[in-house]
Symmetry: C2
Subunit: 335 residues, 2 copies
């Protein structure tokens, strides 16, 4: 726990003018946003986000999934569901920048032996393995495979808010012995309050102490706490922060990158390119009205009830998207 105390000290009052160079931001706009439009972004939009991340000094950008085409049909899903090598290179070429390229590999939904190429053949830098707790055995194999192939790896432990405390402890013990660079706290349902995030971050930090593994946070905005919870984790000692431009992401969306950049003091981060991207790319997209994300009452209700947002998303896409009371009554009844 020394590390935690040390960081708490470093972040205490006197150091509002300093910054922690260890803090790294991953932009997951296209990956998490892809859950709204079946990963069907146009190249121009993806390229704009890429260039924005480069200009803003972001550390890594996640483009999408490496989904198994035997499970997910390419005719039903856009290119960013699969992140084939030539898809990525359409946008980043050989990526002659400091921005690291990341993809997400879902446990049990990725043909990783086949679809994750040796690092020497790929422009990808980071393979982010996403796993529910019951999939950890598969995730361990995937982490090893990607690490052996030469990638940096991280792991997103999803839906932590549904895991019993004892099982979480065991999971962390196992993950701390893998070659991952970072383990992410994932508030999949946007149900956590800051105090809970504080406790979780302390627990995660303790589990990786001395292992050279960082702790990250991936928050959702169902209760309008994605940014607040990201700050909370950061203050306690999480050094890997997920964020998205304009908060884009499934349902209530994610921690808005523009808010995070306003808080972080590292001069390498630039807010202006992000504002420009929002103005030029996101506002027109919003006006089209084809993609919805951000804080809305139905997402708040699933967040408060610690439920997957899928029922709220379905309701918003249905015939009575504004029937908040009917949705609330239904959720209460089904509880």
């Amino acid at each position: 726990m020394k590390k935690v105390e040390h960081i708490k000290d470093a972040m205490a009052k006197g150091s509002w003018l300093t910054y922690r160079p260890e803090i790294k931001i991953l932009d997951c706009t296209i990956r998490d946003g892809g859950l709204i439009n079946d990963h069907g972004f146009e190249d121009g939009f993806v390229k704009a986000v890429y260039e924005t991340c480069v200009a803003a000094g972001i550390d890594a950008m996640e483009f999408g999934y490496k989904a198994d085409k035997k499970i997910f049909s390419p005719s039903d899903n856009g290119d960013w569901k699969f992140c084939d090598e030539d898809t990525l290179r359409r946008i980043v070429d050989d990526n002659p920048t400091d921005l690291q390229i990341a993809v997400m590999a879902d446990a049990e939904r990725t043909d990783y032996h086949h679809d994750i190429l040796p690092k020497s053949e790929s422009v990808i830098d980071i393979v982010r393995v996403a796993t529910y707790i019951h999939q950890i055995p598969t995730a361990l194999n995937m982490i090893k495979d990607a690490a052996d192939k030469g990638y940096r790896t991280t792991v997103n432990l999803m839906a932590i808010s549904t895991i019993q405390e004892r099982e979480l402890g065991e999971a962390l013990e196992i993950l701390a012995e893998t070659p991952v660079c970072a383990i992410f706290i994932v508030d999949s349902f946007g149900s956590y309050y800051s105090e809970q995030i504080r406790d979780l971050t302390v627990q995660f930090l303790a589990a990786v102490e001395g292992k050279g593994i960082e702790i990250g946070i991936h928050a959702h905005n169902n209760q309008m706490l994605a940014y607040a919870n990201t700050l909370e984790a950061l203050i306690v000692g999480a050094n890997r922060l997920d964020a998205t431009i304009n908060g884009m992401g499934r349902g209530a969306g994610n921690c808005p990158l523009e808010l995070l950049l306003g808080f972080l003091k590292n001069p390498k981060f630039q807010l202006r390119p992000v504002l420009k991207c929002i103005q030029e790319e996101f506002l027109p997209l919003e006006q089209k009205g084809e993609m919805e994300w951000g804080y809305k009452i139905p997402y708040m209700i699933t967040g408060q009830m610690n439920q997957h947002p899928r029922t709220a998303i379905k309701m918003r896409a249905g015939e009575n998207p504004d029937d908040y009371v009917g949705f609330y009554d239904q959720m209460i009844e089904e509880e």
Copy 2:
């Protein structure tokens, strides 16, 4: 500081299933929302908010200002700028409910000798004096006047984020000697982070220790932290919480009541009536497009820069409401 420690203990892990009966919510939807539409709400809307507050178990509702008609013309301002006795009674009659009726009296903008009637002649329960730090001498007179007339009084110390630490200490010392029931931390610009709110709450609590005065919080949502900061103050020991339905309020708006009710465990609070009111009253209002509130990039920029939102509000009402980059450049230049 014992009180703070005690409350921290009470709120610690074991007590997520209990609640603090001392916590009281004031709904300021019509008062703060009135800053968007020059206090011109229709009676039906105000009545709906009133009935919602009653049904939801809210403790107090603030209807508007007691503004001086010699300074503010009734032809330019709606009825809720003045909250005349017969205006209030149009909605609440003799208020045969447990909901307390509050009005705000701005220092130097209220003819309080004349416009605040003796309590026996009024349906108002609480006079909330709002003051900038340099107006405190006037505010003290107003608090005494209202208390002498038989009202409960509270004081909102506005724009704390612009006050030097030493002056704040002196102000609190003075206010702690008045007959107010509560002193409110007001994050007028929505510029505070949770850690700062925590420190401020501790400071405010210490200043009123043993005086029988409660600490309250009035947060704005410029950095999407209104709810998070309200929770932070609550956890440290603030017992008076301001919130608005659907977060309605000037600029980025306020702490959304529906989020707060989702957190608080006191069974007297009911979420459903608030959802019903949002669905039936706020959605149609939003669709009209005449009133804008809630998190938006220009409000975020003024919040991050600890500036009054007036420049952002003006920009949103102007010819280029979506020119985020131009607004950012202008704000940086003027800093």
